[in-house]
Symmetry: D2
Subunit: 80 residues, 4 copies
């Protein structure tokens, strides 16, 4: 009778363990997926900022060229 | 003897279950943390794009105003 | 006979004087007209330069505003 | 006596003619000078407008390049 009880306990715990291990596998794959998405989001954001910096340099150039144009117009307004 | 063996099995499985449950808790807290970081990264990126769109509208305005200035200069070059 | 000759001389010179006075009037009206055109050309040029200076101030403002926009984009590229 | 009178008239008219011719020369040189200044003013104004048109073409280019930059920023704001 004691042996029967122990066997029932063992089987119940083994059943619980199996469920927990399945839950574990599920969590591990979820974790991996979210980590992949986080990494992708961060890479995207880095690429974003890099593109933005490139466009900023172009804007700097345009502002410089407009300032040169402004100086040429100023000379025209003064000298002639 | 059979009862002893069953008890040993039961204890071993119970030990394994406890470890697996701890691993589970760890994975769940890891998952929650990474999900929070992903959400934060996405909110940041959304805020980023929203700011960029606001700056774009300002740039649109500046380009429009430069075009008006250009037209005034053109009139000056032609009419006088 | 001497009197006749003198009269002829006097009339000839008087004729020449009349022509010269007409030429004089013509030159004076030409001079006045060219002076008026010169003054008008100079006033036009002054108005031109004044307009150009006004447009230059507007261009200065646009360049300043583009520089502010540039700084906002730079902050966006760095902070986020 | 009549001859004397005619001689006096002739000399007086000849004197007047000489003065008028000098005035003529003066007017002619004034006219030439003002015409030269008018021509110079018009050439200057033409050079002015030509310079302004060159600067306008440069401004057109800058506005075009800012519009291209604007489109690149818009793509960045939408796609990423």
């Amino acid at each position: 009778e004691n042996a029967n009880e122990l066997q029932t306990q063992r089987d119940s715990i083994a059943q619980k363990l199996q469920e927990t291990e399945m839950r574990n596998q599920d969590l591990e794959s979820q974790l991996q997926e979210v980590e992949t998405r986080l990494e992708s989001s961060q890479l995207q954001q880095e690429a974003f900022r890099k593109n933005l910096r490139t466009l900023l340099e172009i804007l700097d150039g345009k502002i410089f060229e407009l300032t040169e144009l402004r100086d040429s117009l100023a000379k025209l307004a003064e000298c002639s």
